[in-house]
């Protein structure tokens, strides 16, 4: 391994002192350019994520979740269980909320995929849902939060009349172990009232 790839601890320390809140990060790959050499059973696909086209090589078995996180560097969507039992991996596909861990990247060419990174406006203005989650303390550890917000965004697009009970039921595909549920309901109702 060449020296240029070895970051010294001094580099790490320099990185950390610059960070206001987050601790030091190891060097992180940006959205990967397609590997020039196809390996094994990898196929060449194009994914439309947050209105941006990404070309990538993936084995067919790569889930949409892992393609987003590991190949495209969009780590906002979380892997909570990898088996469709928690909702942390929720993304929108053509405006509908799904669990990205139980679908394959290769199945979504031509689909419009929205992740948490695409919820705020490009200029950084938070979506009313996001503002409401902050205001209502709809999160603690924050791990389930991207899934909650994207799920709520999907819910808001479903045309239901939203009251407390309906939101509770319709958000039950997103588990929160910190126990924020009533605050999540508050935030969703706030956003529904505003939008």
């Amino acid at each position: 391994m060449s020296d240029s790839k070895d970051l010294s601890r001094r580099d790490f320390m320099a990185a950390s002192s610059a960070s206001a809140i987050a601790p030091a990060a190891p060097s992180t790959r940006d959205s990967v350019a397609p590997s020039p050499t196809r390996r094994g059973s990898e196929v060449d696909i194009v994914l439309d994520v947050n209105a941006t086209e990404h070309r990538l090589w993936v084995e067919p078995r790569v889930t949409l979740l892992d393609a987003l996180r590991d190949r495209l560097g969009l780590t906002g969507t979380k892997k909570g269980c990898d088996q469709g039992t928690c909702g942390a991996c929720t993304v929108l596909v053509n405006g509908r909320r799904i669990d990205s861990c139980l679908t394959l990247a290769v199945m979504h060419e031509g689909d419009r995929i929205t992740t948490i990174e695409g919820v705020a406006r490009p200029d950084g203005t938070l979506h009313p849902l996001q503002r409401a989650f902050v205001e209502r303390d709809g999160f603690q550890c924050g791990f389930c939060t991207p899934g909650q917000i994207v799920s709520a965004l999907g819910l808001l697009g479903e045309g239901r009349t939203l009251d407390r009970e309906t939101v509770r039921v319709q958000m039950s595909g997103n588990i929160c172990r910190c126990g924020c549920y009533p605050h999540i309901v508050d935030a969703v109702l706030d956003a529904a009232g505003r939008t």
């Binding site: 059973s41 990898d82 088996q83 799904i98 669990d99 199945m107 799920s151 999907g154 319709q170």
Partner: protein, 326 residues
């Protein structure tokens, strides 16, 4: 998960041909069941044929029946206003399944074919005659709280997991399938096999056959139907017990009824015994309790699931009360 070849089919013929060519190849629609099983290494198909481009998503009211395309998503079917009005039990069964995200992903055909949640089936480290014929049944004598009390054998007590299939059973739905030999319809009551001594054989689909539609024949009293699902927590859980019922009541007397039970049997459990007990009976609790006794005749508990015999009866009684309430 194993590596596999991925093929995107554009036509039904193309899909069937692709699967027929590769032994062990499977169709993938929503993916919520097959991919889950592959992650657990319960299934390892060498090829997946993506059938999502096939034109099988329509929900149509024809003269005397509903035809639901096999690729229609659970949420779309649940939300269809005509279906909700005509067959509330089906809509409710869908509404109460899984989670909103999974309902948006999962197809009707896939739901009907979903495999059991039995913990031993899903854990290759434990014996399971369904997954590995001859290896034994880990659930018998083991952790069997969620397992079946009807339709079991000494080889398998795995509960059938689909809520929708229970409602379809109550309404005498038919499964339309297409294979290399053409198209046929299989009544739901014949579609599923009891485990018997061959629990690895779950349906009467021939190898490579593709479900293309679910047909629900009209029933004059289908509007007076419901699906009641009982579980530990309020949402996002498989049934401990469930009941799909439809009742034709006139002047306080039940002319005819449809009863199917879920969460407690190895296949969706249509109950002619309960239906016979209800026919001609007054629409009151005593009748419902008699029907429930009849429905659970022959039920057998395996230790941790004994409660299901009582719970299933009460669930059925409650569902009948709900649907006959003024």
């Amino acid at each position: 998960m194993n590596d596999f070849t991925f093929v995107k089919a554009q036509t039904t013929t193309g899909a069937i041909t692709a699967v027929a060519r590769e032994w062990g190849a499977r169709y993938v629609a929503g993916g919520t069941n097959i991919l889950d099983l592959m992650k657990d290494a319960v299934e390892a198909p060498p090829m997946l044929v993506d059938i999502n481009a096939l034109p099988l998503r329509e929900i149509e009211w024809q003269q005397d029946r509903f035809v639901v395309g096999a690729l229609a998503r659970m949420s779309d079917v649940a939300g269809d206003p005509q279906l909700r009005g005509a067959f509330p039990a089906i809509a409710i069964a869908l509404d109460e399944s899984a989670s909103p995200q999974l309902r948006n992903m999962a197809s009707i055909g896939g739901n009907v074919l979903q495999r059991t949640r039995c913990a031993y089936f899903r854990d290759p480290a434990t014996p399971c005659n369904k997954r590995d014929p001859g290896s034994g049944c880990g659930a018998i004598g083991g952790e069997n709280r969620r397992m079946a009390v009807l339709g079991t054998s000494e080889h398998c007590i795995a509960t059938h997991a689909s809520d929708l299939a229970v409602a379809l059973a109550a309404f005498d739905a038919r499964i339309e399938v297409v294979g290399t030999r053409g198209t046929r319809e299989i009544p739901v009551g014949e579609f599923y096999r009891l485990p018997g001594s061959t629990p690895q054989m779950e349906t009467r689909l021939a190898p490579g056959e593709l479900i293309t539609a679910v047909i629900v024949p009209a029933l004059s009293y289908s509007r007076r139907s419901t699906y009641l699902k009982v579980r530990d927590r309020a949402e996002y859980e498989f049934a401990l017990a469930s009941a799909a019922v439809a009742v034709d009541v006139a002047n306080g007397t039940i002319r005819e009824a449809r009863v199917a039970l879920g969460g407690i049997a190895t296949v969706p459990w249509r109950s002619p015994e309960a239906e016979r007990a209800l026919a001609g009976a007054p629409a009151e609790r005593a009748s419902f309790e008699r029907a429930a006794e009849a429905a659970l005749t022959g039920a057998r508990g395996y230790g941790e699931n004994d409660y299901k015999i009582v719970l299933a009866k009460r669930t059925l009684v409650r569902a009948l009360e709900m649907v006959t309430a003024p």
